[in-house]
């Protein structure tokens, strides 16, 4: 057990080092001089330029700069944007709750819908209910989320006028207002996940329903509904937890398009703005932050799995 956990943690550290190094290298080896970005390419004072070089340690060797940058990053200092001179960490901490809320809502919705669909697909295997839901899942998997998002805007904002087409109300501005702006984007993100989750639950349940303990529960005369949701669903919760964890990590980056579409001030939207404005440090900061979150969440899922499932522990 302890050996497994130690191994997972060791792998986490190695991956984090590699991921941060790759992000840093990507930006540091970029053609072009950061000083040009800060001062502009017009005539400039050599003294000021030297001072900036000194401040940013631009003349140090590459590995030293990586070490310094990593040391700062661990303490929460990702540098200041060359363009707005706002600390990158501040931007991230302002934007993160929005993305977090979207990710959480869409996961919640997709699990809520996926469980009944998946359970029904397994229960009515090869009957018309299963065929229909499988076909719907196939289609749902093939619709890109930004297209579904536009369709939702067209339907609920333009045609029906029930919900706003874009914009964002903060949670502190009132829960109802916040929900009105968060519902459509979360729904747009939920579609593909719902498809993935229900597929997983269905295939998991089909194998569970063939187990002997299901047969004995049936022989005891328990109702089908009780067996399905109390007995058969439980073993699937482990794999469901895994995929929910992975999806949550992936969503932190995956919200990029939806946030842009709905003009939501989350992490993804500021990443796109940073790319369009060529705000190098902000791109670097957000990329490394999302990647680290992704790796850490995946590791937590691994750890939970090791703790909860004795079969993994023994390996």
């Amino acid at each position: 057990m302890i050996k497994t956990i130690a191994f997972i943690l060791l792998r986490l550290i190695a991956t984090l080092l590699a991921v941060t190094f790759l992000t840093f290298a990507m930006v540091a080896l970029l053609p072009g001089d950061p000083v040009d970005t800060i001062l502009g390419t017009a005539t400039r004072d050599p003294a000021v330029e030297a001072q900036i070089r000194e401040e940013l340690n631009l003349d140090d060797p590459f590995l030293v700069r990586y070490g310094n940058w990593l040391g700062d990053a661990v303490t929460g200092d990702l540098g200041r944007s060359y363009i707005t001179s706002q600390p990158v960490a501040d931007t991230i901490s302002q934007r993160l709750p929005v993305t977090f809320q979207l990710a959480f809502m869409s996961i919640f919705m997709s699990v809520l819908v996926a469980i009944p669909i998946g359970v029904m697909g397994a229960y009515k295997q090869s009957k018309w209910q299963d065929t229909a839901s499988s076909a719907a899942v196939q289609v749902a998997l093939s619709i890109p989320n930004f297209i579904f998002g536009i369709f939702l805007i067209w339907l609920f904002a333009v045609q029906l006028g029930w919900l706003p087409a874009s914009n964002w109300n903060r949670f502190s501005d009132g829960v109802v207002d916040n929900m009105r702006t968060a519902l459509l984007p979360a729904l747009a993100l939920a579609l593909a996940q719902m498809a993935v989750f229900s597929r997983l639950i269905r295939s998991d349940m089909i194998s569970t329903l063939q187990e002997n303990y299901i047969l004995s529960a049936r022989a005891k005369g328990m109702s089908d509904r009780y067996i399905l949701f109390r007995h058969a669903l439980r073993p699937s919760s482990l794999s469901l937890m895994t995929i929910v964890g992975i999806s949550f990590g992936a969503l932190l980056g995956g919200t990029v398009v939806i946030e842009t579409l709905f003009a939501i001030p989350g992490l993804g939207f500021s990443l796109i703005n940073a790319i369009n404005g060529r705000d190098i440090l902000l791109i670097q900061g957000i990329t490394v932050f999302i990647a680290v979150m992704f790796v850490v969440i995946n590791t937590i899922v691994d750890l939970l799995y090791a703790v909860l499932d004795p079969r993994i522990r023994r390996k």
Binding site: V19, F146, V256, I283, N298
Partner: protein, 340 residues
């Protein structure tokens, strides 16, 4: 002697459950019953595979061929025939100033469907059908480049890793795990942001390189399974060289599964390119792509939804078709694998 032949025929039928009995048998008449050398699974012609597909998969294949043909047609139009083929100029703004006649065009922007413009015109009064056909070229190129990178480089690396094992495998997979540790879209955006000029070449190359790790994983898993099979052990036992085994035993068996995966992966790549162009981070304007058509038209959904609908429908149908065909080949190859 006749009995021998029917024996072999039966053998073939058992061996290849999908074989049609009516087809001619690939066995030469044997004079004495030795090792039946000609006995091998009958190779299906593309037409034969097409015929065994369910109707929906058939329709998907036809749709994909149509998209492929459109992209070739658009390129022929530009590069060979100089716009002489019957297809409107995708960038001609029909209400713009025409220097030849000295007049402004009369077409209204966001026009509905008509005989001249089957899918209508967009906000700049450009022919949507023509733009969609020219846009297919970008999607097809990105998908083809990514599949080629994945199958050739990823397939080779994965086959080697799964067969050779040891430090080669550990090192290789550790490197790929770092790439896979990033959320794919974020890494792609970060890489794309480095390039000032986003040509089709750059876009397809970046997406292609980023697709390699996933292909490597798939082919490694298959190569691992195949390396333990009796025919590989037999080849090793008679002293066949490693590279020869890799070339003649491992790779031909990894390839069918990998190609089935490639279809599904290509679907994902088409979505990724659509996303990039939707964000305005793919190839430069005025080159039309399905994604940037959707992006340009979405501001006008209150006036005319159809301009969003057509490119969105084309993109979604293409992704759906790729998934359907990929699933079909995946089922087929797993069925064959289990019956071997």
């Amino acid at each position: 002697m006749a009995a021998n032949e029917t024996d072999i025929e039966r053998l073939i039928d058992v061996h290849d459950a999908t074989a049609t009995i009516a087809g001619s048998v690939l066995v030469e008449p044997v004079s004495s019953f030795t090792v039946p050398q000609g006995v091998k699974a009958k190779r299906k012609t593309p037409w034969g595979i097409f015929r065994e597909m369910p109707a929906l998969v058939k329709a998907s294949v036809l749709w994909l061929l149509f998209i492929l043909f459109s992209s070739i047609y658009a390129q022929l139009d530009i590069r060979v025939f100089n716009g002489a083929l019957p297809l409107g100029d995708p960038n001609l703004q029909l209400n713009g100033f025409n220097p030849e006649t000295g007049e402004f065009g009369t077409n209204v922007r966001l026009e509905g469907s008509s005989w001249q413009h089957p899918l209508g015109t967009d906000a700049l009064a450009r022919d949507t059908l023509s733009r969609a056909i020219h846009g297919s070229y970008v999607s097809v190129t990105v998908a083809v480049v990514s599949v080629m990178c994945g199958v050739i480089i990823g397939g080779l690396l994965g086959s080697i890793a799964g067969y050779v094992r040891g430090k080669t495998e550990t090192g290789l997979m550790a490197m790929l795990d770092v790439v896979l540790a990033f959320p794919a879209l974020v890494l792609l955006l970060a890489l794309i942001s480095i390039f000032e000029v986003r040509s089709l070449f750059v876009i397809s190359l970046v997406i292609g390189v980023l697709s390699i790790p996933a292909y490597t994983r798939v082919s490694r898993a298959n190569s691992l399974a195949i390396s333990n099979r009796e025919f590989v052990v037999a080849a090793q036992a008679i002293g066949t060289k490693r590279w020869t085994i890799l070339r003649r035993e491992i790779i031909p068996n990894v390839l069918p599964t990998l190609l089935a995966y490639a279809m599904v992966a290509a679907a994902a790549v088409v979505v990724v390119e659509g996303t990039l162009s939707f964000l305005g981070l793919s190839v430069q304007l005025p080159q039309s792509t399905w994604g940037n058509m959707i992006n340009q038209a979405r501001g006008d959904i209150r006036i005319n939804f159809s301009q969003v609908l057509y490119p969105a429908l084309i993109l979604t149908l293409t992704v759906l078709a790729l998934n359907q065909v990929g699933d079909f080949f995946q089922r087929r190859s797993s069925f064959r694998g289990s019956s071997l």
